[in-house]
């Protein structure tokens, strides 16, 4: 919420530059990606440190990511495009960075919608399966960022690297080693 409040104050004070909506879209897009990648970092960090209480933060971080992605989208669709459905659909069709971004957002919608306790219970094992959609969503988000920038690809590539590391940490081979690395000092598992 804090970044949004910051942007709202900035908008009223006129300190967001000449095209404040562009600034809002940019900043909110960044926050969405930051929270998405942070969400994906929870499990590897938990495995590495054994700090299991971290898992509880995951759902909230995921919701933050969705929240910023939604503000990012609404600033674009509502203010830039005045909710012009045709113009938006043309964008989705013609501009690959928007195609990727829109796909990422759509993948996040069911995840946000099923983030309540009730849905977790109702879906049972299927809930975990459904929430694996976060991986393609994050990949599409990073791709969206990479395709959007004009000159400086430093940050999109850094985001891609972070994503690659976080996904690699999930491969069974690496994951088991991360666990073992943690346990071995205590001599539990060879």
């Amino acid at each position: 919420m804090a970044p949004v409040a910051y942007l709202a104050v900035g908008f009223v004070r006129g300190s967001l530059g000449l095209l404040p909506v562009d600034t809002i879209i940019l900043v909110e897009g960044r926050w969405a990606l930051v929270f998405l990648l942070t969400t994906l970092a929870v499990t590897p960090i938990r495995r590495l440190t054994g700090w299991n209480r971290l898992a509880r933060a995951r759902r909230l971080l995921g919701l933050f990511a969705f929240f910023h992605a939604a503000v990012h989208f609404l600033a674009y669709a509502g203010i830039d495009k005045l909710f012009g459905l045709v113009a938006i659909l043309e964008d989705v069709r013609d501009r690959r960075y928007i195609t990727a971004g829109m796909a990422a957002l759509l993948l996040l919608v069911p995840l946000a919608a099923t983030s309540t306790r009730g849905w977790i219970r109702r879906l049972g094992k299927r809930w975990l399966k459904l929430h694996r959609l976060v991986y393609p969503a994050a990949a599409l988000g990073v791709l969206h960022f990479y395709w959007k920038v004009r000159a400086d690809t430093f940050w999109p590539l850094l985001a891609a690297l972070a994503l690659a590391v976080l996904l690699a940490a999930r491969s069974p081979w690496i994951a088991s080693r991360m666990r073992r690395g943690r346990r071995s000092p205590r001599g539990k598992a060879g």
Binding site: G17, L19, V21, R96, A151
Partner: protein, 311 residues
Amino acid sequence: MVIRVRRSSEVPSSEITPESTYLDRRKFLGATAGIGAATFLGRGVAAEEAPIHGEEEPNSWEEITTHNNFYEFGLGNEDPSRNAHTLVAKPWTVRVDGLCAKPGDYALEDFIRPSALEDRVYRLRCVEGWSMVIPWRGFPLADVIRRAEVEPRARYVAFETLWDPDQMPERRWKPRIGWPYREGLRLDEALHPLSFLVVGLYGKTLPNQNGAPLRLVVPWKYGFKSIKSIVRMSFVRDQPRTTWSSDSPREYGFYSNVNPEVRHPRWSQETEKRIDGSRLFGYRRIDTQFLNGYADEVAHLYEGMDLRKHF
């Protein structure tokens, strides 16, 4: 005095803005036509009268000087106004070389002294999709080309921006063909009376972030063609390599004429955000005009060319 014929599509320089200094300037008008550029650089104000009509309102000094693209000073639109104070715009030397009878290194004052300064209000359309209306002060590029006595073999003019890492903080990004920033025009484009070398804005010395002390303004092309802080002009036979068209040839062509029909691969060019501080979101969306509204004057330059291919 340079007599200017106003063309229908030019932005009239009308009820010039809330800028008080600019309004003050009008006291001089009539009496001080065609004051030499060196005088302008030294003291500030006088130039010949800008024709008065009423239509498109120029953007404010504040708008024009805080929203720029000058990548040597950072990649964000607000970076140049924060960072460009490190640019040393005086003294300044312009090198003229290549296929001409009078090459040489000219002190800026000598370079522009022979020309009469004019005020012109031009639309500026950025390839990113925003636009402004800007009251420039300068002189025709053609003046300089004529003085250089260009050889008939020369078909293009290549321009270079200053590149001095000590003055320019951008560290992370470098164009594919490296610094300095390069641009170019076909000689007939460069000789066109609308092609303008600029030394001032709103009757004042050009601020660093806008390309001090000498920049090009080619109003029918996307803004990045209007190269800033020029240190070199070369007359050449072959089409010169330019920064953006070398960096992403799929997205930016050598010509880069404003054209709503030819989309940028990542966004449409059919409309633009005209910066407008009176609007809630800071702009109003307007239709982009072919050749930025200067088609009557310059369309003949491109007769018979496929502008989709030569974008």
